[in-house]
Symmetry: C2
Subunit: 339 residues, 2 copies
Amino acid sequence: MATITIHDVAREAGVSIATVSKAVNGKGKMRPATRAHVHRVAERLGFRPNDLALSLHRRRSYTVGLLSNDIYGRFALPILGGVEAALAARRTSVFLCNAADDPETEGRHLASLLRKRVDGLVFTARRTDSFFPAERTTPPIPVVHVNLEPRLDGPALLADDRAGARLGTAHLAALERKRIAHVSGPQGFAAVRLRQAGFEDALQEAGLEGAGALFGEWSEGWGWEAVARLYQDVPPGKRPDAIFCGSDQIARGVVDALCHRGLAVPVDVAIVGFDNWEVLAAATRPPLTTVDPCLEALGVLAGETLMSMIDGAIEPSGARLVPCQLMVRASCGTPRATA
Amino acid sequence: MATITIHDVAREAGVSIATVSKAVNGKGKMRPATRAHVHRVAERLGFRPNDLALSLHRRRSYTVGLLSNDIYGRFALPILGGVEAALAARRTSVFLCNAADDPETEGRHLASLLRKRVDGLVFTARRTDSFFPAERTTPPIPVVHVNLEPRLDGPALLADDRAGARLGTAHLAALERKRIAHVSGPQGFAAVRLRQAGFEDALQEAGLEGAGALFGEWSEGWGWEAVARLYQDVPPGKRPDAIFCGSDQIARGVVDALCHRGLAVPVDVAIVGFDNWEVLAAATRPPLTTVDPCLEALGVLAGETLMSMIDGAIEPSGARLVPCQLMVRASCGTPRATA
DNA sequence: CTGAAAGCGCTTACAG
DNA sequence: CTGAAAGCGCTTACAG
């Protein structure tokens, strides 16, 4: 049962392959009867045009490559979903490649994508400051980075961590919290440093002092531990009345620890997280108010940008920051006093 | 800057395209000097063979399609990762398609994959009992289902929910727990019914009665609520001393609620979850002992099975159950008495 | 209105 | 040892 080709249809319909091609694609002019007849035969035979041949001819594959060092990670995922949605809407398929932080795998994937003649490339990563060794030489096709600092020509869409952190912290200040602390992940991460900067921006704008900043891990355990450090041996008057957390995981650990110490959220301490990771944020007691980096929207934007570049548009290279949004739930309460 | 082809290399090297082809692919016999020379020219020109042409010739694309109604969901993901790993190891790329529960999108994707001449297909879904309308007609290429009941010819690899639940419940019985309850998700899910059956299998084998089974949602909130129902107005002697949960989310809600009521885990009540969803299970206090469906391994197995079918092996159609494993952490403690 | 021919970029017997 | 030719499955001017 060899797969059937345009020649089979032509023979069966008693016409030339050129006619079949035009009929099937609804192109050119021809007698309606001929067109209908060819259609019928093609249908009966189950003719399915070979896109490989088409692409070879067109020099365009309607396919793009997606390379990540952490495709299956929970943060790369919403991005990936957004990118895919944008591409699917433009009828183009995506080749998934997981580099897994191995330079050799990465190089192989990139070479393979280029040989498959993808129309464009998108790079994503677990961290914005990830490094892709394969990105030494600019590929001959459009490239866009998503939540990854660009090392190649082409635009890079990034969540605005700094502005997001400022937004979250300002929310706390607006609610009349006076002693706001910051608990975040490892300072080796660019995201941690940017969020810290945003935290300080907001403090300064509100004319507040800040009740300390602690850096540890991206985990609930660290949030729990940080609370101990923040409250142990600290006289009640000097304790934070709000904590801006660098991630929802940390925030959840913080909330649980606070509750464990008999402190009430948000009455005694207001909490803001970061990520809007639904499954954690919504399940926390009380549900977490948190900064949403809008990863999926970021992915959509990136996909659309890539498509327009493929269509010939010329997009400026370099980072492009996309705003975060504040997702308000219940961990901050309402203002203690109205100004 | 047109992309350079085999003809460019041939002209530049002063040989025929046939020679370039053989040289570049290390095939046939030829003077080492010629081969080296061609290699050098190809390298200098940055020649990158066009896989589209190659595939057209070979009638094999070294590409497979992956269709899911929930690619970016947290359960489809480990599976996807496993499949991709197995395929990458065989040098084949994967086309990602997200059907998003929309029959039309799904049909479009399937048609597109077939036209792209993928060598095989894998179907995955959010639920094992999902239905893909597009699966009415068997495609002319190998297909495998992963964690999805098969409606097409071809093997289906499924986590053995029933045996897994039995394993988890038996663990509780072996630890001398006598009044084991079950709290799970919506009974509309095949997985819920299978896990319930496994729960009962184990009870029967241990000669135990069972302390009730409650079905609700897949959420922490439901776990919390279920505890209220299980303990409210129930005389201490009739309360469960162990709970087998249908998911880690539920288990976490259960643990938190128990703690909130002043009950200690595992001393007063032992808990077993299902999923081994690391981020939840490890962060629970105490960390959750849970049934691991080994999704990634399932994906790997599926990928390998598909590849071997593509290579001509003939695999029996129908469901194939893959065992779950018990991940022991701290929520069950040690035996109260040694037999 | 329809078809013959050239071409997309490669590989593979088959000659020489 | 090397090259000319046919073929993979399609499309698109160009004739007729």
